[in-house]
Symmetry: C2
Subunit: 443 residues, 2 copies
Amino acid sequence: MKEKIIELLADENFKELKEFLADANEADIAECLDELEQSDVAVVFRLLKKDEAADIFSRMDPDTQENLIEILSDKEIASIVSKLYVDDAADLVDELPANLVTRVLNNSSEAKRKAINEILKYPDDSAGSIMTTEYASLDEDATVQDAFDRIRKRGLTKETIYTIYITDKDRHLVGVTTAKELLLAEPDTRMSELMEENVIAIPTTEDKEEVAKMFDKYDFLAMPVVDSENRLVGIVTVDDAMDVMSEENEEDFEKMAAIAPSEEDYMKESIFAQYKNRIVWLLVLMLSSIVTGKIITNYENAFAAVPLLVSFIPMIMDTGGNCGSQASTMVIRALATDEVETKDVLKVWWREIRIACLVGATLAVVNGIRIYLQYHDLPLSIVIGITLFCTACLAKSLGCLLPILAKTLKLDPAYMASPMITTMVDACSLVIFFNVALMLMNV
Amino acid sequence: MKEKIIELLADENFKELKEFLADANEADIAECLDELEQSDVAVVFRLLKKDEAADIFSRMDPDTQENLIEILSDKEIASIVSKLYVDDAADLVDELPANLVTRVLNNSSEAKRKAINEILKYPDDSAGSIMTTEYASLDEDATVQDAFDRIRKRGLTKETIYTIYITDKDRHLVGVTTAKELLLAEPDTRMSELMEENVIAIPTTEDKEEVAKMFDKYDFLAMPVVDSENRLVGIVTVDDAMDVMSEENEEDFEKMAAIAPSEEDYMKESIFAQYKNRIVWLLVLMLSSIVTGKIITNYENAFAAVPLLVSFIPMIMDTGGNCGSQASTMVIRALATDEVETKDVLKVWWREIRIACLVGATLAVVNGIRIYLQYHDLPLSIVIGITLFCTACLAKSLGCLLPILAKTLKLDPAYMASPMITTMVDACSLVIFFNVALMLMNV
């Protein structure tokens, strides 16, 4: 599709390009625009159907949007902004540099400007920041006929067709009804008779991650957002909830790999920004492993006498790290999905310690036999076996307890993942290793 | 809520319990049922409103569903199955043991039974397996009036309200229209005039992970599923796409921690099953680190002469592992979200090597200074500095190249995560370390 657009641009065949764009899907066009040369973007954008341009604009990358705003005339900007959903307009204003923000706001209607500012005042991670203020709501005294008149007059959007919110005179949310109910009811039925009164509403201050979880649980297409006095102020739609879910997941993957989370895409972020995201944890963890190094120097006599011991250090460290990160990954995810809560700490530990015994015993036996066959040294294979067993138990325990401890201390459990657990388990497993060796071997 | 139910059960206050359940949300009730004693589940379930029972049933855990099917009468089962969406009924049949499957199918209508079997014949990871065969479709010659009559007669479901699919006489998908268009059009308009002909449809054989990505990209509430001849066979709805997205994410977290992925929840899976999921990779990785151990024995002379060298092994191994898993996590995620493709391999490597130089230089300088201040040994700090720099470059390179290589070989890149990368980087970084030490120090 991108090739086709470039070809038509090169031929200056704008008539065919216009027809081609009219038939294409908005999300696909936005994806192509993100990949075109800056100068071409404006050319293509001006060929779009007027009623699709705003939708396509809202789906483009922030960089492409910024470039386009710089090129477009005030009139063109006004036309786009007037058609953008308020939540998309707020996202745009949030991302643009200050001078362009002024241009955008100057070309918005006063109502839109007020609505945008309304959304921007909510903290970045709150439900208020992802809601839109365009939704279908009706007074509890309105009739089904009123509802249809309103829908015919104002039009419908994807956001508003399925769920209609019912408010009282003071805009308090009192109920919800669906297009299905409207279609099946008599025209003179009042909303107060039709509506379902048990509405699950989100406070504006709710964490947006919790909002995404509620969508996953309840399978709603939209949820109402209310202020502290239960007045309806907006709705969150399922597509925005999906975006939050994706973002939070990417952040968790990054945190669990000891990277400071970033909203920018991998290929778009600058090298220096990525360096900054990665170096902090690397330094912290590197300096922590100095402790492990220190511990080893205490056992210099042991490996001076039996140099072979040194060759088992990597295996013991790696196995300990892997055992620990398996446990921590499972527990971090179970905490993230609310399957495990901090009060379950003993139950979780009891699970992990039993798994650790099975895992540790298997590793000990397999490796014990391997070492005995290779070196014919029974004490050595016993030392390695015992070390592996103890390391597995310790690693699984730390792996499950540290994320829960972090959550108890209101820290993000995702940081207690593989890198952190590995560093901690390393030190402990080597202490076990050398002590068992000192006890059982002639060193 | 669970406490309230248990309290009312204990008091045998079924009247109030019934009222309480009638007012509660279906997803919340299902969650409580999953946590109640087996014997209580059936009692509570029988108090549910008839038209809500099937919805609640479809939201319960497979275990709870199984227990309930065992207890309920044939008549009760028939009543539930008749109200279940076909995709939920197919999920149920897929999870139940054989004897209960027979009971469920014997109590289904023939149409339902056929529809269930239709869905079950698609492979587990295909679009066909997550679609439902209940959707709103109209002939291209139908009028808007016909559409409303049909909706009033057959009722509407969440799945069908927003999008209506238009087919020709042979059930080929030819267009799509929305409730919005229907409401705004004249009653005698034909579907063929109203419909949008550019429909993005999913083949039944499409990977369900790709389907979830399409929902994320296009923000649809439902998408049509077609067979190889473009005949409409079902629809996938956004809530099912969200479930796929969550599942795939959990699987990736597990794979990246060297755990065989499992669909079972952490707290519900048996200890032995979890042991099996974890032990395979642990054994593979443990035996791989024997190679690293072997390498160390080659340099016995080096650390016999300067025992202090041994104390740097943990720091070098950990730092290498962390550098590598940062890169591999970023690249695995970028591959999973289609941001990076295999043909970008050189671009990705060029990014990583530049980040590696910055990271490596910082680590080298910080640690070089630290060691010089601690041991006043300039050659040693240079050895450690050079080793850290080379390890960072090597680790970041392996970390970005191996996932892309895996993808090229049609393997899952998620397995090229921290545990695998760490094991490989360990061996290489120690070779670098000892060789640099042999060259620069008097050993």
